[in-house]
Symmetry: C2
Amino acid sequence: MPTPAEPTRDSIISRVVRILSCFDRSTAALSLSSLARRSGLPLTTAHRLCEELLRHGLLERDAAGDLRPGLRIWELGSRASHALTLSEACRPYMEDLQDTVRQHVTLAVMDRGSALYVERLSAPESPLDAAHIAQRMPLHASSSGLVLLAFSDPSVRAGALAGPLEKVTPATVTDPEQLRRHLADIRQRGFAAPPGVGRAEWIGVAVPVFGPGQSAHGPCIAAALNCILPLDAADLVPRVVPALTTAARGMSRALRG
Amino acid sequence: MPTPAEPTRDSIISRVVRILSCFDRSTAALSLSSLARRSGLPLTTAHRLCEELLRHGLLERDAAGDLRPGLRIWELGSRASHALTLSEACRPYMEDLQDTVRQHVTLAVMDRGSALYVERLSAPESPLDAAHIAQRMPLHASSSGLVLLAFSDPSVRAGALAGPLEKVTPATVTDPEQLRRHLADIRQRGFAAPPGVGRAEWIGVAVPVFGPGQSAHGPCIAAALNCILPLDAADLVPRVVPALTTAARGMSRALRG
């Protein structure tokens, strides 16, 4: 928490984060007034901060004069990024997997209470517009998140089960006790394939990728590898799981070596 | 420039950028004291700022307790990133190209006076450790930069030629007049293949990728597509250029469509 002696310092970083958080895949550029409104900042404050962010290249202007995140913030975020290291190591295995399954293939990590997609190979023929790179899904409402939870340390799992559990679709499990049993089942089977828990029409199939670390509870999970099928192709799950598991083992070996 | 009325606001964003700029591929994590030293900030200032950045997830601690860029900054930089949109559109063509040439294949854009690599497909058998994603090279000292300069608007070119031109290797051309002729030649031939201008032992081969925009001087260049060969394989250049040109045409069409 900010100490009383430095309210300005804290609030500026918070405000910058609020400004940068306004952009996403469907909102790649905004006018200054829209950006002020979305970030909840007074126009004059937003203007001053944006001018400073423009000077540093953290924002840039597009051809229409609107503001968008600058290449400099992508650069600062990517240059030493754990996400990039992970996706570089895992991408060859994801390519092999996608050649086999011909559906969107994603890689997600647990970050700040959600599943964050760090890599994705898209299937051009799939109409699903979700699980894009740098997007997030709730842990309890995605196959990747459920795998990340199932194989994480018990304390992490307990924390997530104690938090608010949003009902994203009618199929999302939000009862902590039921979720706990579901996670135990995923741990035992080695994969999650919950139908329609994050997007009603789709079924994610996910398996764990383990990193080099070891905890008291076994190898540390580094990521979840996932493939997304239309709900009416759920009969493919038994065929997709072995391909996912094989690719995930290659990734785990690559991360350890 | 900061106005006298708001020195604190300006200096905090500058300091955050200084902190985040300390990390790169070879320095993925730093202790607080190393980070303070590298960023030139007093230890107490660095400590306060890092605590705030940790709270926002812009920094995180690794297993050893050192600081590293957080997934949140990667997320904020990637979610609406021009770099990511570009690399998503271009990656299939880069994969086709790499299947053919079996060398590092990169995609770079011009940003703030340098060539910034936004995508790279690595050739596992190539020992060259350069041109990584989110790294930069001087425009005049890389095949990608020379192509970006050659096909940019004359005003951009004039600005770059007027600036300081560092002699990166003995082969780097730093005489503005000689560079101007070199760029005219690249424009005419449609590719750059300058031996050893950025790394003495390597030859980059680069071609332009055009975006949807049009300027008074022709289609706007969006990126440079590049392939990196060992200097002793320079005789392959005539065979690599057609493959690069073909892939770049596909990318240009994808970016326009």
